[in-house]
């Protein structure tokens, strides 16, 4: 009989749903020492929190997050709030000795992230940040291939995350569903929202970034603010791209925007090694493209691997070869990996400390976008 890990959820938005689904499903497919229990939820709007709790089966609603992080029947706090609340909640939860699962990006900026890391490391609590794309089977498979060393020297890493949902100048900013356009709630625009995913994956697959030169842009300069009803300057970055060096000597190129018409959520990466190259694309997340120079000369080409076999990462838990899983399964996998690490009292990656490195790159990128200089990370 699995032991319970009692979850206290803060927030009920898109990520609240995605995480809750992960908690509820994991034990149907994975055999683990711990099983998550949806103990309680806290959020600003009590009616919505109640509705959310009813739908997902949370045991109760707490009137504020301070009560939740202090509640003795909670083992782990899941932070799904806008970014500007991550630090306060995480530091308080750490004081109460709770395990902490924090939505990405870790923090509003590096210094805030450093305080968070200091707090959770001092408290010694289990911690993880929800960079869920690491757990898409094709991405994990890419990691396995890279770790095997067969790619040889790496020359290039490129990634982008392209969306198109903010092109209309009539879209307001701020408030429910739109806090990602408000720098006060989000810290930054596409850099923290989208590039942070690309950077987390890149560091995981290709190691540390040493320096960057970036270009940022805000295409729509003013938008009505949902909370004030006033037209206010937009202070987030609508688009951000940067060039960089990795510690392993390879070159990086990253781009993100919410103004690339035709792309809903196109996150792609490609890595070019001496002997092999890999490509992946979130829009077809169940495939990994592989080029292998070891193939006979006339037989070389890009191979599209349908990552749905039992010998692919995580896929022995699901259906049969050829039958794809989707986006949400990355959260199930992350829950499974967290629970396994939790049972073994080992770190679950990406930890807060791992995520802080991504934050440092984000800050360097944003600074370079302003200073028009190369910036060391």
């Amino acid at each position: 009989m699995a032991k319970p890990l009692r979850i206290g959820m803060i927030g009920y938005g898109f990520m609240g749903r995605a995480h809750s689904n992960g908690y509820k499903r994991v034990s149907d497919f994975f055999d683990l020492e711990y099983t998550p229990v949806l103990q309680a939820v806290a959020a600003r709007d009590p009616a919505k929190a109640k509705e959310f709790a009813d739908r997902w089966g949370y045991g109760r609603v707490e009137s504020d997050w301070q009560k939740l992080v202090a509640a003795p029947d909670i083992d782990a706090i899941d932070i799904c709030t806008p970014n500007n609340l991550h630090a306060e909640i995480a530091i308080e939860a750490a004081k109460h000795g709770k395990a902490i699962l924090c939505e990405k990006p870790l923090s509003m900026d590096t210094s805030e992230g450093e305080r968070m890391v200091a707090a959770i490391e001092k408290a010694g609590v289990p911690n993880m940040v929800w960079y869920n794309y690491r757990r898409i089977p094709a991405v994990t498979f890419a990691k396995q291939i890279i770790d095997s060393g067969q790619m040889g020297r790496i020359f290039h890493y490129r990634a982008n995350f392209l969306q198109d949902w903010t092109i209309s100048a009539d879209l307001p900013q701020g408030g429910a569903g739109l806090w990602r356009l408000d720098a006060k709630a989000a810290g930054s625009g596409v850099t923290g929202d989208l590039l942070a995913h690309c950077i987390d994956t890149a560091i995981w697959l290709n190691g540390s970034v040493t320096d960057v030169t970036a270009m940022t842009e805000t295409f729509v300069k003013e938008r009505q603010h949902q909370l004030t009803g006033q037209r206010e300057p937009v202070t987030i970055d609508d688009a951000c791209s940067f060039l960089c060096h990795f510690q392993n000597g390879s070159l990086g190129l990253f781009e993100s925007t919410r103004y690339a018409r035709g792309h809903k959520a196109l996150y792609t990466f490609e890595i070019n090694g001496e002997n092999m190259s890999l490509k992946w694309d979130l829009h077809d997340l169940h495939r990994l493209q592989v080029f292998d120079y070891k193939d006979a000369g006339n037989m070389r080409g890009w191979k599209s691997i349908h990552v749905t076999d039992g010998d692919h990462p995580y896929m022995d838990k699901w259906w049969v070869p050829g039958l794809a899983i989707g986006y949400e399964h990355s959260f199930v996998h992350q829950v499974a990996d967290f629970l396994e690490a939790y049972a073994k009292k080992q770190p679950a990656h990406p930890t807060f400390r791992d995520a802080l490195e991504t934050q440092r790159v984000c800050d360097a990128v944003l600074l370079s976008g302003k200073s028009h200089q190369w910036v060391n990370v």
Copy 2:
């Protein structure tokens, strides 16, 4: 508060898992009058049934299906056994007035299917057959486009279902996990297993089939039988293809095999109309390919629609545009549609009667494969 629909599950294999997952997840995403309750499971092997019940949260295990179909605390029976048990169970469950959800294909053959339809229609019980591919959003979207009438006269419909998992002559037949290779348990080979899916979708999208000419083949003539340990003749069809006419005057071409190296579960269809053509492929199930002749001449081409927007079928229930769902969601959708029809006391398609039409085509195909003649359906 949703009303319970108490499920009695028979079987615990691949489909038992897929259906159970559908029942457990539906209420997290759909707002319905009824919610499924995993009441009890019955299966031949009690230890495995117990393990299955524990994993999925079924309330109890019944020692045999006869008890389950008679149990007063069961509202609906889900038949996930090998095909040779469908009829007996369904007829008995109908006698007890249970709603019945039967795994496809409906029956071992048409005459058995007719007895099933007679029994459930006499009993007047809600009924449905699990041709789940209708509920892949891209497939449902194709249905909407076709029903809009904008395609004009239809000329061609082609579909295939290609797999490669039985190529090795060392693979045994019969018994757990391999009953699909045993005609006594399965009725037929690829015809009932794979082509039945293609035919169900085809009838749904393009109407009735009138006559067929078919070719069947058994490539590996003998395999060891798992239950007897003896080498025995293989009597299923390893491959089956057929040509046909549809009632609407269009031409059909179907193929299925388990000997197409490189295809795990490649189910594709394409329909060509006067003004428009559509294509779909299970390996990239979240996309629908559309060609629209109404586009300006120099702008015509095949468009790949990423069927993940809120205005696509079922997709408002899930995540955000660009984030794909997978194979298993088709079962969640089918549960949702069944529950909605159940609440409204309307038929949930495909009904047993709908599935009987597919059975008739399958039988015509198998007969033509033997007689080497065109056969009317």
Copy 3:
């Protein structure tokens, strides 16, 4: 200094252009003992023949083909007329000892084809039929792979040739540019025009066809005839599909139509062997898709080979890796291969006899389409 092969061209249509281009370009890229010389052209319409000769640089225009095949300064006759003239011209040219290059399909039917083969074999003249798709580098590369034996036992071969240019019922039949819709000039519809290509490639790659069951359809029953101005019955097949067995035990499935909206000239084939599968598509003719079961289990997938390297067939003659050639180059290659065989006094494939086998399959298919019976080839 290369020796001249003096060409006498009959016809000036689409194929007249494609062949002329082949003759004119071959010596710029291939080092051969012979070089084609565009000596003379004959065609029904003298003004058009003159214009054609001027454009392509033919030395003179002959008033009729009888003079051309008898002319002493002509080494080889190229027959680019509608199908109903192939036999008469070829037999007459053979009498005059000319080498003969005949556009496909060989003949109006098998018996006519037999007379042609008898005539040219009796005369002992070099001969070839323009099934040009054999010489697309990716197709030739497929042949090399198959001939290496590494595919193991073959289970399936499928091909189709889909077009959409005759959907409009207002399109007339017969006469210049439209003789392909007139059975009296073409012999058949898509069977001789499109399926013949599929069959030629199939026999080349996978061996002989033994028996077939076919379905043919004429969707538009009457069209205005360009020559008479009258509405006349359409007697060609608009669509034709068939199932067949190959001598090697594999199963075949073929389809062709001019009513598949969205497909301009989509010729595809796929072959599934025990160890390997191959796919090709004329719309992306520079690629070959390969699946190799010998790859490590988790690394298997369909590989898209960009057939543009120096170690791919014919490609050392052209540009550099990555730079594609197109449709017309297949004719250049066929000219090159013909000239090489001519110099060595060896057969250039497909010979008339090779093409007769394709004709036999076409006739069996058309007969089966009418008789609704399986027909032996």
Copy 4:
């Protein structure tokens, strides 16, 4: 009867072949006032020049280019030498009043390019630089769509040119076939060779670039020099990427390398506008990908247009819909457009002046790569 344009070719390498092929084929497909005549060729190695002249049918070989540019029977000089000879030849040819067609990039650097432009503009001679990719039909079609204004405000332009042929450290530099690795002959590495193509297309499609920040790298620091036999430092850029602003307010991102394993000659671009996006890829050069926001919401997607119809640019000259042309045809088109402009005494784009703008961007990129600063163009 077309008037002759007598060509004097300098060089006999890859580009010498591609241009010669363009000259020889153009009049078979295009109806023009002028037709090119292959009058003479000059090159350093007389034996190779002779062989080249014989193959392509040049009337004679000149012993040096100085004689060729002064020859009275030459109308136009085509410069296909390594980059370090472009300026000297062009300036001298201009003095002799010849039309000049110069291989790209225009010059070794901007100041040299300025002298060239001054010379040819002073002489008033027709001039053009061989940025051939403008004349791929799909690329020209993109230009037509952009010029129609239907894309709305442009937000992003991204392009890359990826190759992998110099990864081996054993590949020597300098000399025949390898001068592109020698900065003394080439001026730069991938910037002038590959990025110059991307920049030319970008300026053509999206207007001027205002400022750049770049990153350059030389992965293999020393290679044996073919001419000296010594290991010498490599001074070209092996890889170069840059970010930029366009005058129209859109953001640019460019990358080029010869170390991207798996890419033979992958030149891609994408442009994102308010209402529409376009993508193209040299590896499938006959297709243009289009996303149109004006499509109904649920019908939006990327459309793959097979640019082979008669209403696509240049395609009425070739075959029938669905039949692709290849790389070399871009040169035929460029010859055709040059001849048409020549007849009308109009500029043929890109002119030397157009190409100088590309050179300025290249120089800014190389400077930024060294200075690690943003550089204004």
